[in-house]
């Protein structure tokens, strides 16, 4: 029973990494938002499963927050923003999808190596879950670096935060306050970024962040 339970936790963490790769691969706005919602749902399932096997009922709260806030509200809001901004077209990536995926693979390998070295004393399964969480964080960062569109950068930021929550719930004894404060800060960040998107668009007629660079005189 215990082995099976850990296996399922492991598989859920692994599918988070898989969905992060899907995020890197998606180059359409609505597809991106749907995949992001899928990642939030998997995160919520993973957190709920951790709550069940650690017998820590307070962990159901972050699971519910992830499901409602990030699985429903934020994707729907982003959906509306995308429609209002009129950017249904494909996303331009700075480098192509192939090199990005290769780079992502390298990041996953890096996080494996780092975690296996850094947490050598920990339980192997917890260690590998931490490694998965770290790869989700790094893949979110990679997504923010490779995309030029502001909305997809937001999605990258949110998926980075998904990785943080995954890491926090995988470790035993993380206080609830930390998780809730992270969730709330993400909500605040989302609102601020949402306001900024429209400000950027007002000023530059585009949400392509290349325009910011050109405005500062950093034209390439």
């Amino acid at each position: 029973m215990n082995g099976q339970a850990l296996d399922i936790a492991h598989l859920l963490a692994g599918s988070m990494v898989l969905v992060s790769f899907l995020l890197l691969y998606q180059d359409r706005m609505f597809g991106l938002l749907n995949v992001f919602a899928l990642q939030a749902v998997i995160l919520s399932a993973s957190v709920a499963w951790q709550a069940y096997i650690q017998q820590a009922p307070h962990l159901y709260v972050p699971a519910a927050i992830a499901l409602v806030l990030k699985g429903l509200i934020i994707p729907l809001a982003l959906h509306r923003i995308v429609i209002r901004l009129g950017i249904h077209r494909t996303i331009e990536t700075v480098v192509g999808i192939g090199p990005t995926m290769l780079f992502g693979m390298g990041l996953v390998a890096l996080s494996m190596v780092v975690m296996l070295k850094a947490a050598a004393a920990a339980d192997p399964l917890a260690r590998e879950d931490l490694a998965f969480a770290l790869s989700v964080v790094l893949l979110g960062l990679l997504m923010m670096v490779t995309r030029r569109n502001a909305v997809s950068q937001i999605v990258g930021f949110m998926s980075l935060e998904n990785g943080l929550i995954l890491a926090a719930t995988g470790a035993k004894g993380m206080p609830l306050v930390v998780e809730i404060s992270v969730a709330v800060s993400v909500l605040v960040a989302f609102i601020v970024i949402g306001v900024f998107l429209f400000r950027i668009r007002e000023r530059f007629d585009s949400v392509d962040l290349q325009a910011l660079d050109e405005f500062r005189g950093e034209r390439r």
Binding site: I8, L11, G14, L18, Y25, G98, M101, M105, L116, E128
Partner: protein
């Protein structure tokens, strides 16, 4: 006596795949038509098509070489052997020691090689486009397949399919690397069988087609044999996924008649479910541009690579 029984079981498997392949094709077409709220052609239509093509005369281009005439049979036999090697209803059949994942990949690869050659044989532009695209896809799909084979081999300690199936049955557990391998295998299967996101199996004379472009010059019994080989390939990939990832119901070595009967029944059930899922996928997404396909297949390659990497870092993945 035992030898005769063993040979009969093996023969049953060879006959079974041959018999089921057109039925599977008819089934997927029927389900697809029903999902699109059409009536669809009857389940047995592929058999009738094959018979009709068999009876028709062969029209050959003037400059067709001997390769053009002999290749359909080569392609068909290589695909048939590969499909008959995959454990469908029982593991541990008489020839199961030859059922090696790498051997099956090689058989499919050689049939693809001949198909690409004959696509260019007559010298039409369509055939050339088809062949070049097929090779472009194959250059990514084949390494992905090999990566999947390596992942499974690292887990089970062998590339032999019936041993892998037994391993999955006895001490299979939920593993991340297996999930990655499954995703990669599904992508490779879709691409290899020219199903919808990669190629449309129901189209003719479009600039985007791949498989149909290569066999455009064929007619009569040659076309029948090639279509049969394509149907066999679809069956092969479905039974490969079924035998590795859902091995329940497979009759173990030395099972009696009841074991075989259960095996056949569960195999038919798995094919029905697998075909249905394939059609669900096909009706829910649109075909992608040809130049997006390498990205799509690159994902399969990377997933296979990732699964293998995880296994190298730690065996518990």
């Amino acid at each position: 006596m035992d030898l005769i029984l063993d040979l009969m079981a093996q023969g049953l498997q060879m006959g079974l795949v041959l018999l089921l392949a057109p039925l599977l094709l008819g089934y997927t077409r029927k389900v697809k038509a029903r999902l699109l709220r059409r009536r669809g052609s009857p389940l047995l239509q592929p058999y009738r098509d094959l018979l009709r093509l068999m009876r028709k005369e062969v029209v050959l281009a003037e400059n067709a070489s001997w390769l053009f005439r002999s290749s359909p049979y080569l392609i068909f036999s290589a695909t048939w052997v590969a499909a008959a090697l995959v454990p469908t209803f029982a593991t541990g059949l008489y020839f199961s020691w030859t059922a090696d994942l790498i051997a099956i990949t090689a058989l499919i690869g050689s049939s693809r090689f001949f198909l690409a050659l004959v696509g260019m044989d007559v010298g039409t532009s369509f055939g050339g486009i088809g062949s070049s695209r097929e090779m472009l896809f194959a250059s990514l799909a084949e390494p992905a397949m090999i990566m999947i084979a390596f992942t499974l081999a690292l887990l089970a300690g062998t590339t032999q399919l019936s041993v892998i199936a037994q391993f999955m049955l006895t001490n299979g557990s939920l593993r991340v690397s297996l999930a990655l391998a499954l995703a990669a295998l599904v992508i490779v299967a879709i691409a290899e069988n020219a199903r919808i996101p990669v190629d449309n199996p129901a189209t003719h004379l479009e600039l985007t087609m791949v498989h149909e472009a290569m066999i455009l010059e064929y007619s009569g019994r040659h076309l029948a044999v090639l279509e049969f080989a394509a149907a066999l390939k679809l069956l092969l990939y479905l039974s490969l996924i079924a035998c590795i990832f859902v091995p329940w119901g497979l009759a173990p070595a030395g099972a009696g008649l009841t074991g075989y009967a259960i095996g056949v029944a569960s195999y038919l059930g798995k094919l029905a479910i697998g075909g249905f899922l394939l059609v669900m996928l096909e009706t829910s997404i649109a075909k992608m541009r040809v130049f997006r396909v390498p990205d799509f297949l690159g994902i399969a390659l990377m997933l296979g690579l990732l699964g293998m990497l995880l296994l190298f870092v730690s065996r518990s993945f």
